[in-house]
């Protein structure tokens, strides 16, 4: 099993930390993982993306051009990465701020309105965990117990009191993700 994922959005949305939690969850499930950020002269409000690979085998290139799953969180990223998803792959996006919706017919598209849900939960910071929950519903490649272990490993101990809230967010993401016909 190899899952090649791109997560892309605005800096500050928690793109890189979602990738890190995903990768750490993979480690907890005894998988091979790689986490490769776009690094550069970037800033808050600019775009950020990270390539996460989770595999049962040794990972070859951490830098790739085609992905099994795209998790897309703003318009620029949708424009940039929609064509990078492999035919038959999965695109998950948050419709918040999207003016041109994805158009591919040869992939499966899901919508997870995580920004809106995070607003309802009164907790904008769990936005990325709602998205991650949606991803895990569609691609249950990591067991929830290992995601929680991954969360614990990724978060500094002083934030461990926030883990139950993050679990709730993951659960909400699983509930609200919907396929787009």
């Amino acid at each position: 099993m190899t899952e090649e994922i791109i997560i892309a959005g605005f800096g500050g949305q928690g793109v890189l930390s979602m990738g890190k939690i995903m990768a750490y969850s993979g480690v907890m499930q005894d998988m091979e993982v790689s986490w490769m950020p776009s690094y550069g002269p970037e800033m808050r409000g600019g775009t950020a993306n990270v390539t996460v690979i989770i595999s049962s085998e040794r990972i070859s290139s951490p830098i790739i051009k085609h992905f099994d799953t795209g998790i897309i969180l703003n318009q620029q990223s949708l424009d940039k990465f929609e064509d990078s998803i492999k035919p038959g792959g999965v695109l998950i996006y948050d419709s918040n701020g999207i003016t041109r919706h994805p158009e591919r017919k040869d992939i499966t598209i899901y919508r997870v309105d995580a920004a809106e849900e995070a607003g309802k939960m009164n907790s904008p910071k769990v936005f990325n965990m709602i998205v991650l929950g949606g991803f895990l519903k569609v691609k249950p490649i990591i067991r929830m117990e290992n995601v929680v272990k991954g969360l614990k490993k990724s978060l500094p101990e002083r934030y461990h009191n926030l883990i139950p809230m993050n679990e709730t967010a993951l659960q909400r993401g699983m509930e609200i993700i919907v396929p787009v016909a």
Partner: protein, 353 residues
Amino acid sequence: MEKELRLMKGNEAVAEAAIRTGADGYFGYPITPQSEILEYLMEADPYHTTGMVVLQAESEVAAINMVYGGAACGKKVMTTSSSPGISLKQEGITYIAGAELPCLIVNVVRGGPGLGTIQPAQSDYFQATKGGGHGDYHLIVLAPASVQEMADFVELGFDLAFKYRNPVMMLSDGAIGQMMEKVWLSPQKERSKTVPAWATTGKPATRDRIIITSLDLDPNGQERFNQKLVAKYNEIREKEVRYEEFQCEDAEYILVAYGTSARVCMKSIQLARAQGIKVGLLRPITLFPFPTKRLNELAGKVKMMVSVEMSAGQMVEDVMLSVNGKVPVYHFGRMGGIVTEPEEVVDFLKSKI
């Protein structure tokens, strides 16, 4: 003690491994894409646990000369930087080589020349393997291709440096420095309580002065010293070559690549083999000493070799020397901080078949 499993950036792995292997001192100056090494060490503050000194110097030049001083005292000392900073360190590096002192230098390479870019590149191969500074000398050059190797080569680097009294360079790049992977960390080792006999530690009445210098005004003496270095480098060439072969058994074509490019090539091989092209990878782990003999042997069994590097073609010259005309050798790779894509390597290979 068991090894500890962590998810870390390559840069962080270097820093943590340095503490755990019992390094005595780190002297550095920040530069992207390796600043996390200094940042991690500053936050870890190992002086209060292992006694390891971590110091941000006023410049790269100061940092390498602190390494020179620490090494002359027989201490396990290191510095890290990225391409432009490594250029600044070259004077110190040649003096350390000329004084036959051990140390570890990590270069997390970015695109050049000049200030270039902050993205990954492999364009410092010549500088690392062919000298860099002036005079007839070699560094032992290790090329990690994973975060695990970033950690492992800290200990290996120090071992080789002390074994041969020679500076060791770990030649990494921005991609391996910035990416996170699983890494198994060795348990904490104690710092050495003793120093080698050659270390300058103050002269007791019981022995002669120890002088560490790279200066000999008598050309006969200098030539004898040069011959001693040549003999040392030949011993290193004989004993320390390290490489990995990947799907070479039935290969008709061989890609030669180190570091990030080697990882890219592993993916290219998967793609090419799906199209029926029998291709393998030879990944040099030591760039000096270079796996010359093995490449020459493989050249007798294959039709072509391609050196894949993120440069205008540097290692390709060593591949050509190794192959010595037996088969055609080409270079392929992107530059300027752009990482070569696996598909591009396959397309290039097909264009040459």
